[in-house]
Symmetry: C2
Subunit: 228 residues, 2 copies
Amino acid sequence: MAEAKRTPRKQPKQQRSRAMVEVILEAAARILVEAGDSLFNTNAVAARAGVSVGSLYQYFPSKEALISELSLRHADAMNHALRGITGDFSGAPLPILIRKLIDIMCAAHAVEPELHMALLRHAHRNIQDGPTAGEIDGQQLVLGLLQQRHGEVTVMDMEEAAFLVSTMVHETIHATVLHRPSMLQSDDFGDALAKMVLAYLTPSQPATQSPLVIGVKTHRMRQARTGR
Amino acid sequence: MAEAKRTPRKQPKQQRSRAMVEVILEAAARILVEAGDSLFNTNAVAARAGVSVGSLYQYFPSKEALISELSLRHADAMNHALRGITGDFSGAPLPILIRKLIDIMCAAHAVEPELHMALLRHAHRNIQDGPTAGEIDGQQLVLGLLQQRHGEVTVMDMEEAAFLVSTMVHETIHATVLHRPSMLQSDDFGDALAKMVLAYLTPSQPATQSPLVIGVKTHRMRQARTGR
DNA sequence: TTATAATACGAGTTAATATTCGCATTTAAT
DNA sequence: ATTAAATGCGAATATTAACTCGTATTATAA
């Protein structure tokens, strides 16, 4: 463990080096999934990528940088999907929208759960430096949503509510990925989460004034299999 | 990082060594809190405890063992408190009991949050070997509770429900300790959790179990784009 | 073509730190 | 008092792996 860790590193300019960066990230992910944290080190990643350690250090200042980049890409993909949904379902009733968002999150976490677990472990290691950009982004998304629907949600502090809802859903999904991966597939799981979120956000007694949605009899939406 | 790690170590027989074990654990906790993970190593712990590394290794086979022991004691204390409450409130209405249990958990996590954070980080590192004894114990407790109150809870799989509730509450509290420690104190936080748990466990519409299940008006949903 | 910048290499250096082991000291039993 | 077991010590050792640097190769520009 020498010193240094100069954060700014060279940016790949030529096609050759850009490709190498991809190969390196791919190798890093594969090692995390197949070999586990203990075998995850820069030398191993370089070897697995069929590249020299020196080359790796041209573009990644430390091994943490590899994890960061992988996490960033993951979070970006997911937030992008969520924003897509909020757009597509902007006119839908709140319960439907929430259920759909949760569905997307479950699906996103069901893909490559092993990699997800590994990234999670490393993320937790660096918790001291606050929530990640991805997490903040996710909470912002929820906050915007609550503000849009302020007529339907009965909550004092929206910012706090955004944190709570987003944290609750995300962390519960994470723990489930880790300990009960199979549950993630079941609709019951998403239903349960949605029920809880709704109960928190909306009045306990839906007030009989609204003749629509009372007991949504398991309106099963066939979820498009989002496998890779 | 030599080899070995023979898990079984000597048990302290004499008073002297039992005291030393305590001093070592205390030092370990203090280092985790004050110095952080990076300074947490067996040599530092021994030094801080005013003890030799060799002595430390007499009773702890590895540095992980220190963390494990600290975590175990923490979990035990908490589960003990929870069991106490379930006893004291065995006659109380479910909502009251749940609210009280959540209160206890929040309070337990509000004590020494720094240490809690550190233990959490290390726990997440070792997730690969399943849930801890303490977590399992907590879920058992919830399961027992659900079975006792089976008349009040409307849930299909009780074992699954115990996992979900216990995980949801615990993980949400954990994340809140890490990112919004102050929220942990507010009643609103506990209220929110309790509301969610109750919504999941009990019928949505307490009174009107009327057969009027109005189909949600068919809602057009566009295909979700999931890949990136 | 040739100059020069970019890229790639990987053995070697260096730091950290987990763990051991032979010896010294204390306690408890007879 | 004698002895054996338990306890304690910490310098020395071993291992791991992060990171560098001098050199070689390849791409681009002139």
